[in-house]
Amino acid sequence: MPKEITLNHITKIEGHAKLNLSMEGGKVTKCELSATEGSRYFEGIVRGRKYYEAHEMTSRICGICSCAHVIAALSAVEDALGVQISEQTYKLRELLTLGERIRSHATHLYFLALPDYLGYESALAMAPKYGKELKSALAMMKAGNGIIRLLGSRDLHPVSATVGGWLKLPKQEQIDEIRKSLEQIRTDTVETCELFSSFRYPKFETKGKFFSLINPKKYPMLEGSFGSDGGIFDKSKYSDFIKEYHEPYSSANFVVRQDKRYAVGALSRINTSGKQLSKEGQKALKKSQIRENSKNPYHNNMAQAIELVHYVGEGMKICEELAIKDEKPVKANAGPGRGVGAIEVPRGTLWHEYSINSEGKITNANIITPTAQNLLNMQEDIREFVPSVAGRKKEEIIIQVEKLIRSYDPCFSCSAHFLEVKWA
């Protein structure tokens, strides 16, 4: 039985993190999961900048979910300045983030998570034997990237979405092109579900509650109240019920909900809103190992695969509904104002908040990322999971712990710059 496990650089995650684990007689005496990414202070950097510059700058928080940061920032600014966007803008934003949801889940599932389950060091090393699976992953990533490029002009840090609307609208033919590209990866998403439902996952239940936005109208994406079976909260009051605090060993903040740990992400969404999945999504859910209200964080991989099926169908539906008409972005009122943007992104709920003064300058910003919200739950899950495998070899414990961490699909790039401490 090992006494100390230190993972100084956890690989196959976004950003940098480390884990310090000490055990004595099968009990965990210390468990510290920390972001070791350098701090970038985005919330400070955007102060003094114009309200229409926030999304372009905060997009740089994260490469893999740059669309998410753009749309969350725009929603918050529009909330602050009383801008009502058109239905077309809303649908295009849904479609843009759907592209990102698909490429993000596909990248995580195949490039970061799958090698653990097939016993390889990397997806690239799997190429000779699992060429078909890899090609399928790359096809999904390509379709996702294609959507983002068509709507946002670039694969990463998209630029065409702006306050109140769209700087350059796509042509109707391009929307049809997107629909076709989604149709082409339908089978890939179904096979991804089958693949991830075929693995044996460790038996484990987290004690954290699963939270996501809940939208009575549809499976949550760009709006809703934040909730679970533990209650529902309006987004504007988020700072009353979720608090950030800081541990000296980490460059990312920990976030708690009314002093308790909680989890966000694909499994949370399936738990709160699984009934709103498309027919195909429901079918995939039924075939998976996820039963109602799964508390097993390892199941997040299957949840992401199920979402892939759902998002492809949802994206095709949006394409069919869209009839692009020429419209200019809605003009924003002058400040002052304070606004909150909360959207569901691949890794969970993302919060952006801005205060804007009468000159249109940002005077305060607060950003809470999914990984910051998951961080405490991940750490405590590790603490509670490790005793069940403590008798095994060190290498085996490490792989199980790494699988657990990766199942949350953490993004430490995102989480590592948020050091504001709120004393509850």
């Binding site: 950003g15 350098g38 985005f42 002009s153 050091l419």
Partner: protein, 281 residues
């Protein structure tokens, strides 16, 4: 790619590594988002290290090491120095690495804007001034952009695999923008930095209706006074112009501030790099 596979001796592949220090992982993602070529790429170069997607990373004697991100703390610096020592060539990959990008804009903001974020900082690791990699080690090549076009990274790799010397793109964004038939955004009154910014990006932002923020850095022969005059003529105040010019590449721009203070758009231009004021300790 097919041809390349024939040219390259499979027993003597270039040893290549991709590392990220503090950044957004966007440049590393851009490498793997070469969906059609990725699986061939690993046949052309020997990918020794890529911790973002690999568990086993052999950290020694690289021919080329690609570094994404900027130096933001002591950890970053240590990794960077080790990588430099272990590689024949070091390539600064993306805007953070080349110029410091948005995170380095902190050097031009007031400390009061972010000091409230500093409570109870990590005890063991010290923050450093956010700086591009060549402030600390020699960079042999630069692939600019936030992020660089994924094909640009691919072409760089293909080039070095056949022994071609990589060359930077030096014409301004406007050249490609004209070719793409875009309406000039400056003509529409937008604060586009295309005229002073190095292209090679295929004017991707302007194609999407968004003005250039200068993420690829200034051209060698940029006409800064004229650029500033054009923006002032369009009603932008100096604070706005300064902030825009510095957002992505402030540390690699000549002193914008002093020039602007000279009141004359045609005034004398000081081309030395902006010094690192100790705003942040």
């Amino acid at each position: 790619m097919e041809k390349l596979l024939q040219v390259r001796n499979p027993d003597n592949k270039l040893k290549v590594g991709f590392y990220g220090i503090t950044g957004c992982a966007g440049c590393l993602l851009s490498v793997i988002f070469n969906e059609d070529e990725l699986l061939d790429l690993i046949k052309v170069v020997d990918l020794k290290a890529f911790p973002f997607v690999k568990e086993v990373n052999v950290d020694e004697s690289f021919d080329y090491i690609f570094v994404e991100g900027l130096v933001a703390d002591e950890d970053d610096l240590e990794v960077l120095q080790r990588l430099r020592k272990n590689s024949k060539f070091l390539v600064a990959l993306g805007a953070c690495s080349c110029t410091g990008c948005v995170p380095a804009y902190r050097q031009f903001t007031l400390k009061e804007n972010y000091e409230h974020l500093l409570y109870r900082k990590r005890e063991e690791i010290k923050d450093l001034q956010p700086t591009p990699v060549d402030d600390h080690v020699r960079a042999d090549y630069y692939i600019p952009g936030c992020p660089p076009d994924k094909k640009e990274i691919l072409n760089f790799l293909k080039g070095i695999a056949i022994g071609k010397e990589p060359k930077p793109y030096e014409s301004p964004v406007c050249i490609e923008c004209r070719k793409n038939g875009n309406q000039c955004l400056l003509d529409l009154g937008k604060p586009c930095l295309g005229p002073i910014t190095a292209g090679g990006c295929n004017s991707v932002c302007i194609n999407g209706g968004f003005e250039c923020w200068g993420c690829r850095g200034p051209t060698k022969d940029m006409n800064l006074p004229l650029m500033i005059k054009m923006l002032r003529d369009r009603g932008f105040d100096d604070a706005f112009i300064e902030a825009r010019m510095r957002t992505f590449v402030g540390l690699k721009m000549p002193i914008v501030e002093e020039f602007m203070k000279s009141k004359e758009a045609g005034g004398k231009l000081d081309t030395k790099f902006y010094g690192k004021k100790e705003y942040f300790e």
